[in-house]
Symmetry: C2
């Protein structure tokens, strides 16, 4: 079966996450349905990573198999014609038949937005925190996560038994942009809820309620503590899935509406 | 009754417009409900302008009467505590008892966003147009609207019989910002659907299907033609309601999420 590599953006607010489910509107489910309407026979679609309900993507990657070969641009137009507007296929290219969106990914990056004011528009895309947050403290604590660590304290019971809890974190950046605090977290792979727990813990650091030594302890030995500060899904964006020889995309503030 | 001047932003996607209606979720309805929960007796609320279902506001103004005086910041916090997150009271100040949000407004400005690409996030806040649009042609035609004109050809049967169909348009700006075309239309007052018809007609000019002479003819004599090109509500933002001695806000691209 011909295989294609898809780059996809979606507003996750109206979906029960990526993973196809019976009786629930999911991103993978909508993509599979649109792919069947291409009229190219049997279809299969695997994403590079699952995103939870309410989580957005600027650059999710998936591989799509269809029954017979079509021009990539026809696949892209055909899918978009049958997709709801909140899911958008940004590009389609023909892939090697053994290309695997998840197994071949060498890194992922996420953006997370905290809004420091109540915002009618931000409520869908950012976590509003009333408390004053100390940016320097958060930036300093963010460095604790960099490098190889066992993130079992930051993971929920994982759905993917193949995933190692040892993760190589490339960078955790924290920057202020007007009324937002923008996080970019890049690494080899991420465990379930791990990004949201890193952000939640850093917000507690910003409030002055947690310190770097506690983060160091949780990275040294398993703890159930970080789970209580899991940040809400609305602020999270899967930014990039990185493959061999590709550069990382930098931290940026998504435009309104998102322009890339 | 003490009167307050409110500055309000809202994401209109989930509302049946501004105007209170029985059995429909509206912005005015939500504000009235929140005001009643202040526990300060009888309430009344009048907006500077009605917005249609799906239309957003960055700076709607309303005057609010409550039964007994409260500190303005308590009114603001109290309202926001009872409002859905898509409606946000940006500021509250005590107003003269005869201040009238609509009658005293000397000008209004609107932003309108056209997206030149399909966009998962833009679908809620911009009108996606596939056709190539000629920016220069639109910018040139936009100047036809400036000054005093009878806009009856651009108005729907108006709900407000007080409003004159002669409108003083201060400026119609059209600028490209990455994948967006941003319009700013400022004037004395606006008739029902007038902004959306100006934008719709300018998009037709951008496509090369209408010319400036047709616009001039519709401004010189009544026509039902412009109605067919009414732009969709999702791209429209009430930007500013201007009162005596206040300056105009410039054209800008709303940040994501909106930061002011």
């Amino acid at each position: 079966m011909p295989r294609y590599k898809l780059l996809i953006e979606y507003d996750g607010a109206g979906f029960r996450g990526w993973q196809v489910q019976r009786n629930a509107r999911t991103v993978q489910g909508e993509l599979l349905q649109a792919a069947r309407r291409l009229g190219a026979g049997e279809v299969d679609l695997q994403g590079a990573g699952r995103t939870d309900a309410g989580v957005h993507a600027l650059g999710q990657v998936a591989h799509l198999d269809i029954g017979r070969a079509m021009e990539p641009f026809r696949v892209a137009f055909g899918l978009n014609d049958h997709l709801p507007p909140e899911i958008n296929v940004l590009s389609v290219e023909r892939a090697h038949p053994r290309f695997h969106a998840r197994h071949h990914a060498e890194g992922r990056s996420y953006l997370y937005l905290i809004s420091t004011r109540r915002s009618a528009f931000g409520c869908r895309y950012a976590w509003w925190i009333r408390d004053r947050l100390d940016l320097r403290r958060m930036q300093s604590a963010a460095r604790c996560f960099q490098g190889f660590h066992d993130f079992v304290s930051f993971a929920d019971r994982d759905l993917d038994p193949e995933a190692s809890t040892t993760v190589d974190i490339d960078e955790v950046q924290v920057e202020r942009e007007q009324d937002l605090i923008v996080f970019r977290i890049a690494g080899s792979h991420f465990l379930w809820k791990m990004v949201r727990r890193i952000v939640g813990v850093l917000a507690e650091v910003g409030r002055g309620r947690l310190s770097e030594s506690e983060i160091a302890a949780w990275l040294a030995a398993p703890s159930t503590q970080p789970a209580q500060w899991t940040a809400p899904p609305c602020g999270l964006f899967l930014q990039q899935v990185r493959y061999k020889d590709e550069p990382w995309e930098p931290l940026f503030l998504p435009a309104f509406p998102l322009a890339q």
